[in-house]
């Protein structure tokens, strides 16, 4: 029987070797009205202005480069500059902003900025991810 499983070519995360400042692959997407509507329904806020939040644009490029055991969002900061507009193409640049170990646990900080096709700076997101996700279940099953 033919194998259809594709090989995962991503690098296995070596936290010690991860370099702060590493640029992650830039990518772009078109923000559709449907995405905005679903986001607003999901967050129960018809005026929610930053549907870009659900796209997780800082960790997505990380996950396109590295494979690991998963992660948990430990801290997240979001800077609002301009609300995105439906139908516009948004370009994202993300990078590894920091890494740290605390109480025996490893964290990676990713950061990303989003700009639309008209050059409007939309937002900046900074996320601290705990790289031992099973710590959650140890404390709160």
């Amino acid at each position: 029987m033919a194998q259809t499983q594709t090989e995962d070519k991503r690098k296995l995360l070596d936290w010690d070797k991860l370099e702060i400042g590493e640029k992650l692959p830039s990518f772009s997407y078109v923000l559709t009205q449907e995405m905005i509507d679903e986001y607003r329904k999901g967050v129960m806020d018809p005026e929610a202005g930053f549907p870009t939040i659900s796209h997780k644009v800082d960790v997505r490029p990380y996950q396109s480069v590295y494979r690991d055991n998963g992660s948990v969002n430990a801290r997240c900061a979001f800077h609002c500059y301009n609300s995105p507009i439906a139908g516009k193409r948004i370009t994202v640049q993300a990078w590894i902003a920091d890494k740290y170990a605390r109480r025996g646990k490893n964290y990676i900080v990713t950061e990303a900025v989003s700009v639309d096709e008209d050059g409007r700076l939309l937002d900046r997101v900074i996320t601290h991810e705990l790289k031992q996700p099973n710590e959650v279940g140890k404390k709160w099953q």
Partner: protein, 149 residues
């Protein structure tokens, strides 16, 4: 002419309560292009990855609620152009949880293009446990403040 606003250290921000459902979590994940099972949408994946008995909501949903709390307080015309929020996620939020976000003004500092109003923000579940805590701020342009004497 923009409506003038006044802010004082100690001002309470009107609270915001959200009841989490699996449907809301699924919509949030789908809106961001997520496909396939995840710790947010699938109990088995949550058990395997996190070791929890149920799915959890992304911290970014709490982040969004904190942004709504502050946008309602400052006004969308100001907050969507100069707002910041920064939250630490302290406990999982699960389907069925009711989360109340509160905040208070903690400082006001002059900047080159207005005044930055800083706030503390926290979120508690229906049991009174803190699920998230942190802060935020908003750069309020000088034109929104009453003229100085």
């Amino acid at each position: 002419m923009a409506m003038t606003r006044t802010f004082k250290v100690g001002d309470e921000i009107p609270s915001l309560t959200k009841t989490m459902t699996q449907e809301a979590i699924n919509l949030f994940e789908k809106s961001g292009g997520a496909t396939g099972p995840s710790q947010f949408t699938d109990t088995e994946t949550a058990r395997h990855t996190l070791g929890t008995h149920s799915t959890v909501a992304s911290g970014r949903m709490s982040l969004t609620f904190a942004i709504e709390l502050l946008r309602r307080y400052f006004g969308a015309d100001i907050y969507n152009r100069g707002g910041i929020v920064d939250l630490r996620f302290l406990r999982p939020v699960r389907p069925g949880d009711s989360i109340t976000f509160t905040g208070k003004v903690t400082g006001i500092t002059k900047e080159a293009n207005g005044q930055r109003v800083s706030v503390e923000v926290s979120a508690k579940n229906q049991k009174g446990d803190t699920t998230a805590a942190g802060g935020g701020s908003c750069l309020v342009p000088s034109g929104y403040f009453p003229p100085e004497e």
